[in-house]
Amino acid sequence: MSMALAVDAGLALLILGLGLWIIAVRSSFAAVVGFITYGLVLALVWVRLAAVDVAMTEAALGAGLTGVLLLGAAARLPAEAPGGGPSAGLRVLVAVLCALVAAALAAVVLSLPEPAPSLAPLVAENLPPTGVKNPVTGVLLAHRAIDTLLETVVLIPALIGVWALAADRAWGARPGALTPVPSSSALTLLAQVLPPFGILVGIHLVWAGADEPGGKFQGAAVLAAMWVLVVMAGLADLPKVTSRLMRYTLVLGPLVFVAIGLAGIWSAGAFLALPEGYAKPLIVTIEVVLTLSVALVLGLLLAGPPKERA
């Protein structure tokens, strides 16, 4: 037990140290690298808290995808902020506000009654009708389906926002942020060897998500990573942003979700309600089509706005 405590204390100190370092370090590139490391350590913390679903999402999206997006942003920013960055007074103000938020959160956590209020027993009680065994999937797709629906729909405005950054004459071209690495045999080999395994892992994460940790976001992140790898190795081209097939696939997931939700009004009495006995097949259907759309969106977010090739 004391061994586990030592590991937890080490993780907590590491998280705090990394957080301080990310704030204090001067170069934005170093800060992003620190942020990615922070996300991976945070994933370990979630594992220690027995929240494996959250851990996988944090590692894949929080550290992986966001890390890559931030790396791209850091590469485009000038090394020195114009005008020497914010003034000392502003820095102190930001520090005080952040410390206040942290102190308020700490006070809330410390003042929680013992045992802490929890909906877990309620979820466990209402899980059997959904037919899935992973309580996280049950909550996301049956009990709180509206949150999940909005969460997946919001990805499409995000992508439209990225595309809106395109120059007028580049509209209709292929996304241009993922430039293929100049002929590197090592990357080509990786892009040929890894995708079969990655695609299998991605599909497994979605399929297993019904009963064990996993699900569409984690699986989609792995699938998107494989796609990006193949594009960066120069083995495949991205679709043009005007491609009809791509756009239909983008909206297919949310559309199927909404359609099943609307059918719920007629078959089960409420929007997004799932008819008894059909809950599990419907949940799996939603997960599968959403995986396709989410994987496509995540890949395209990394691929950036359309750009004319020189």
């Binding site: 690495v181 002929s183 590197s184 090592a186 990357l187 080999l189 990786l190 060897v193 890894l194 395994f197």
Partner: protein, 106 residues
């Protein structure tokens, strides 16, 4: 028998941890990128390999053991590729290239 297996686990995992420690020291102390890459990939290859080998006698099922080996193989593949890419990125232009080396295709 189980004592021997436990002993093997302890020795292999400790050796693996030692490689990670040595790799980290190398990463921090070696003078240039190529030697640091050497330290890093050595820690991944041998350190992780020894830890996986040490954990194999402790797993309950064959599938779990295969999973551990898959983790090691995937880390090997990723480590080797990233090592190549980083080395290619820092190699000064016009440095010596072997006849098989792939330069930019004209």
């Amino acid at each position: 028998m189980s004592l021997l297996l436990d002993l093997f686990t302890v020795i292999a995992v400790a050796l693996g941890a030692l490689f990670f420690l040595a790799g980290t020291v190398g990463l921090l102390r070696f003078p240039d990128t190529l030697t640091r890459l050497h330290a890093l990939t050595k820690a991944d290859n041998l350190g992780l390999g020894l830890i996986v080998a040490g954990l194999l006698p402790q797993v309950d099922s064959v599938v779990a053991g295969l999973g551990l080996i898959a983790v090691w193989l995937l880390a090997l593949l990723a480590g080797a590729t990233v090592g190549q890419l980083l080395a290619g990125a820092v190699r000064p232009p016009g440095s010596s290239r072997g006849p098989d080396d792939e330069g930019p295709r004209a």
